[in-house]
Symmetry: C2
Subunit: 397 residues, 2 copies
Amino acid sequence: MLQISQRGQAMPASPIRKLVPYAEAAKKRGIKVYHLNIGQPDIETPKMILDAVRHSDFKVLEYSHSAGNESYRRKLVGYYESVGIHVNHNEIIVTTGGSEAIQFGFMACLDAGDEVIIPEPFYANYNGFAVAAGVKVVPVTSYIENGFALPPIAEIEKKITARTKAIVICNPNNPTGYLYSYAEMQQLKEIILKYNLYLFSDEAYREFCYEGHQVSAMHLQGVDENVIIMDTISKRYSACGGRIGAFITKNKMVLDAVMKFAQARLSPPSFAQIAGEAAIDLPADYFDMTKAEYKSRRDLIVKRLNAMKGVFCPNPGGAFYAMAKLPIDDADIFCQWLLESFQFENQTVMLAPATGFYGSPGLGKQEVRLAYVLNLDDINKSMDCLERALEAYPGKK
Amino acid sequence: MLQISQRGQAMPASPIRKLVPYAEAAKKRGIKVYHLNIGQPDIETPKMILDAVRHSDFKVLEYSHSAGNESYRRKLVGYYESVGIHVNHNEIIVTTGGSEAIQFGFMACLDAGDEVIIPEPFYANYNGFAVAAGVKVVPVTSYIENGFALPPIAEIEKKITARTKAIVICNPNNPTGYLYSYAEMQQLKEIILKYNLYLFSDEAYREFCYEGHQVSAMHLQGVDENVIIMDTISKRYSACGGRIGAFITKNKMVLDAVMKFAQARLSPPSFAQIAGEAAIDLPADYFDMTKAEYKSRRDLIVKRLNAMKGVFCPNPGGAFYAMAKLPIDDADIFCQWLLESFQFENQTVMLAPATGFYGSPGLGKQEVRLAYVLNLDDINKSMDCLERALEAYPGKK
């Protein structure tokens, strides 16, 4: 009989999307579902960048350069300069979303059987990209009690073996919203130098910091060869569907290897490169407005959550996610129950069970991730739902 | 010292793009270069489908469904119906170009160490996708003397081992232009049934057949579980930069596995899905015009090539490529020489050496691939260049 591959079997289904059929069923029953489960912002994509695509004037929708249009990469240099990252356009490879940047890094730097250390909870799709590359994810646990700070260096060192090749961070973090401090980034620098590791830094949420600024992995001195940034325009400009990201490093050997993978898939999407290039000319205050909006949402959702009996939600420093510990038996069962068996004034809320973000089995069973991608009014209504749901849920703990 | 991965080292550079620096240098010297080296058509993308994107009216550039917009997949059902392929929208996963469809197939169906048999010469990027997946490409040689017909079944059977999991074909073929006959497709059907193999069928050039019609792998009866089609809108609508393709199979187990890879990368590009969906409403005679144009180019280039002393070019039945055997010592050296050391009336021609399309070392040294993606006038001028170049080339044979 025909078989799928072992990696096809090992590939995890998306933990964020697995509850979708229950949400669809709820909607068919006439229930309004507030989607706090997925990082799809409701913020409008800047009209200027959509208009750049709409007003584009070419006759042939051609392949671009495999590294992305040179004009776009040259403008990106200026963008990165503005956030204190000094690169030239040949150190940037435009990718098909941040997803492809992560895949390129895994493929070019890691072999099957190699290990990457990732503080958990972590962005669930790192698991999928690791399975595709045959790479083993070694989680090191961070805890809700201290807001998911970087685990102590001693804990990270315990996980290092001869097969360890890289540490992956997401900063500010998805799913925790944690923003690594300068001191923590220095600790990471020391460890990658000591053990000769790559540092893969996913900086998709760079602009969205509410307590201080992001310390980019590329702000670290003396680790040019080790540092790789995975980036995307998806969250920055609310342009998730464009599928444009970037792979950035000063390591020439890695760039050369990644270019071969980039050439094999020919080029990143042309339309959205136009949008990405236009985005760099957005007015300087663009992020102020967006950031202020997300901050007010964060303040509201954290306040509402912590006001609920038995709920604990540390205040996230960045991104647009909050993790909360709930007085429940099992987050997977609870999140399904919210969609299947609960409604308040004909409404309910969809959350992401945190179990899917942990690599260690059994962790996160009382935790959920909430993406504050809805407006304040909707957040209030969804929190009303959650508050009542926690009172009504039979699996209280 | 930090290393790149073994697969990063093994990854082949694009044989089509490796001469680019020589072409750039020629242009800097003021020489006009006719690009017959790459399958980037000069045919205009239908204005209607570009306008569909230009007139799109949405506020947020959102992720699409991981399998592609349902509205697009439902319309694709009608397109496939029109070419005798009967599928429903759940049997189609929209991909980021045909490239991603090939990667998904390799990842979901094949493990590291598995083998795929591919008639050579073949599309060079299959090598790259195989390296990424850890899969071994086993070439079975087809020959220019009989126009690159499918190698005898006995030759294919000789290559089958316990690790053989699939046969990959491209039909009509890139780089040979060969169009597999009904009888050849039946032979492939028998062999995949006998040995329980997948048949990966890359049908990017389906519409461009000049001698009869394409027999799709999905026209074969009784092999629904075995057949996977890799498709793309790139060539069909001259929309290479869109990066929209499709992975199609009736094998539910494979679809489920591929969906997990599709979810990990979130979604295919949103803008170009709008273009792809609009393309299905192009008037019925759209392909007639395009096909007639390509046919007249093929007729011209084949006639010009065969009129040159010592040149043999079999008449390709489809796609927009011709392979020619030249009276030269080494195609790689010759193609570089064309750019570095030759000009006729301040013009030269860029060709793809065939060596990059063979898996067996040493084959194709006298062959080149010509993509007839330029208009008749440019083809004539490029053939004038080639004719003079063959007279002047010092490495004649």
